[in-house]
């Protein structure tokens, strides 16, 4: 004869079994998301569900900010006005110079038969909050797919390149800062045109130039601008300035640390640039080689900034 427990003792599967179930579910999601990025559909659905909570949570801070701005004292506003006027003068002078230079460049370009570069369109956005992940450097901005943001668009502030849009939700978008460990940006030294690739320094909040020979011609204070080779960032945007160069005979490469130009930890308003005109297609043999060798790892970003080969 078989005895079964009376129904009020039934408590479902044992805790350990449940743990195994949920842990393996989590592992499956982790692998799907980290390795293959298959979980984006699920993520966007869940993001819509979580959005109201996030909106409620960020509302008080935004409101407080608006109120404090509203009650900003008269003298402070006057001061700010004067400073802005001075800055406007400066900027308009350089803008005039740039206009002349641009006209000249267009003319020269036409002369050599190069394609006209399309003017870059931009969207102003406000930084809502820092990413809530201590392991990466991200910010969330208040513009999303509904405002026409595209994955991979560069984001700049008034001083230089801030980062790149790496995830677009309906109402908000996530920007990975140039200092993030996984963020890579092709740059050029303004002084001599030396091309390099700048990697995010992670927790240090700096950028690193890797794979530059120990005798590369680079020195403290050199300014780095985007080279525009990857087709993602428009050329000529300030990225960083070199703050430390260590040349050690024991290593083939120099250790170069740079200070980002943009206020990666400060500032509120940013500009999201729409991407530049498409580059011509990959050369035949390179494309064939890439096909023959199906990559075990998919590039993190389709536009090639995650892939230093594309930038070199």
């Amino acid at each position: 004869m078989e005895y079964s427990p009376p129904p009020f003792f039934k408590r479902g599967p044992a805790p350990l079994v449940r743990l195994a179930f949920f842990a393996s579910l989590s592992f499956a999601l982790l692998v799907l998301d980290a390795r293959f990025r298959f979980a984006e559909g699920l993520r966007s659905v869940l993001a819509l569900a979580v959005y109201p909570l996030q909106a409620v949570a960020t509302a008080p801070a935004l409101l407080a900010e608006r109120i404090s701005v509203y009650f900003g004292s008269q003298s402070q506003l006057n001061e700010e006005n004067a400073a802005l006027r001075a800055r406007l003068l400066e900027v308009s002078r350089s803008a005039q110079r740039e206009e002349a230079a641009r006209a000249e460049a267009t003319q020269l370009r036409r002369l050599v038969g190069a394609a006209d570069r399309l003017p870059v369109e931009s969207t102003t956005a406000e930084i809502l909050y820092n990413g809530r992940d201590p392991y990466s450097k991200k910010v969330v901005i208040d513009r999303g797919a509904q405002h026409g943001l595209k994955l991979g668009s560069p984001v700049v502030d008034e001083a230089g390149v801030l980062g790149q849009v790496t995830r677009v939700h309906a109402m908000v978008a996530e920007v990975t800062l140039v200092t993030d460990k996984d963020q890579v940006i092709p740059v050029q030294v303004l002084r001599n045109g030396l091309r390099a690739v700048a990697y995010g320094g992670g927790a240090s909040g700096m950028l690193e130039l890797r794979f530059l020979a120990a005798n590369a011609e680079i020195q403290n204070g050199d300014r780095l601008v985007t080279s525009g080779i990857d087709g993602t960032y428009p050329p000529g945007l300030p990225v960083a300035s070199v703050s430390k160069v260590e040349r050690d005979a024991a290593y083939a490469f120099a250790r170069i640390t740079c200070q980002p130009a943009a206020g990666v930890d400060a500032g509120r308003f940013v500009l999201v640039l729409s991407q530049e005109a498409k580059l011509p297609a990959y050369p035949e043999n390179a494309a064939a080689r890439a096909e023959k060798r199906p990559g075990k790892r998919k590039p993190r970003r389709k536009d090639g900034t995650g892939d230093p080969d594309a930038a070199r």
Binding site: F22, S26, F27, N130
Partner: protein
């Protein structure tokens, strides 16, 4: 012995209401989503409230709820899907396993247990991130769980409040 003479933690509690649990978890999620300046040192309120309910009501709040909350946190924080889901599932398991033991201790002893549980959950998240190629963000990440554990007495007082009966019972009063 009169009901009012007994120390607060020995009094018999009213049965918990589902709305209390749901409301507290929603408020915890909201607190986590506040735009904190330095996320590394902010306690994980969801983990704390989840641990509380797993200890107090292991039959009502369990691994399923923990996993769903973890997924919501993952999406809200924009991190790898499954990182917090895994951490919260393990946290809930640890809390349920320890639930019979923890409540025998004084508040101070409970706090120590909770500190261990929260640190364990943080360590799981750290391991997941290190395995997927992130840098170690520095020792400041242990501050959050420790602060969370320090909040345990406050959280237990707050969340048990709806279940307490009045100390002075009046037989002529209907409730």
């Amino acid at each position: 012995m009169q009901l009012g003479d007994m120390p607060a933690e020995q009094r018999i509690l009213l049965p918990v209401r589902g709305s209390t649990i749901l409301g507290s978890l929603a408020v915890a999620l909201l607190l986590n989503f506040l735009p904190w300046r330095n996320v590394a040192v902010v306690p994980d309120f969801v983990a704390l409230v989840l641990a509380f309910w797993c200890v107090r009501q292991p039959r009502l709040v369990g691994l399923g709820a923990a996993w769903c909350l973890g997924l919501a946190t993952d999406v809200g924080n924009g991190v790898l899907l499954g990182q917090h889901a895994l951490a919260y599932s393990l946290l809930a398991f640890a809390a349920i396993t320890l639930s019979r033991r923890i409540l025998w201790f004084s508040l101070w002893g409970q706090t120590l247990h909770v500190a261990a549980i929260l640190l364990f959950a943080q360590a799981v998240g750290l391991l997941v991130r290190l395995a997927t190629g992130a840098d170690f963000p520095g020792w400041s990440i242990v501050i959050g769980p420790l602060l969370g554990a320090a909040l345990w007495p406050v959280v237990s007082a707050l969340l048990l409040m709806p279940q307490r009966r009045p100390a002075e019972t009046d037989p002529t009063r209907p409730l």
